[in-house]
């Protein structure tokens, strides 16, 4: 019976707590501003103003979103003079971004 389960590759039950955390994790990707920031940072670190200009949004709005991503440990930053440069800080972030992108592009046959 154990062997049967192994053969079937039965999915392991996930703790309720982990599922809550998982949905919280995906929330970071579920906002267009944040996903655009992530996309931009895939090319390398960028300052806050550079991000704001790229997205054509206010600096404050960007700072608020960067804070969210930073506190989730998805970004790191370094200061250089007056500017602060943010960069992606998690290999999973890029992988998940890429997988999601493949999904929607595949879905529409791109």
């Amino acid at each position: 019976m154990l062997i049967y389960k192994e053969i079937k590759m039965k999915k392991k039950k996930v703790d309720l707590e982990d599922l809550f955390e998982l949905s919280e994790f995906f929330k970071f990707f579920g906002d267009s501003t944040r996903i655009r920031i992530i996309e931009f940072l895939r090319e390398g670190e960028q300052s806050v103003l550079a991000i704001a200009n790229y997205l054509e949004m206010g600096q404050s709005a960007i700072s608020h979103q960067l804070r969210i991503l930073r506190m989730a440990n998805l970004l790191t930053f370094r200061r250089e003079g007056k500017a602060i440069y943010y960069r992606l800080d998690d290999e999973h972030v890029e992988k998940i971004f890429q997988l999601g992108l493949e999904h929607i592009l595949h879905k529409r046959g791109k």
Copy 2:
């Protein structure tokens, strides 16, 4: 110069429209009820009531969320008598769930 870009594996710019759609896609995973439904359905199809009982939530709340996942083409369903059985309808859904799960488990060293 083209070769240089290829060697660097420069990330392709993603259309703004695609980024909006991508964030919409991740929103489906960014809710604890929906992620719990997805987790439950990884084991195979389940009726609405079975899902509601498993999550210990009302049938209406589950139906509302199933509708959202269904309209996103993440689920299919079949009727059998009075019951309707839902199942995952997208290989990407499981992959993204799995990758996200690996992320949070890795992050806490499980």
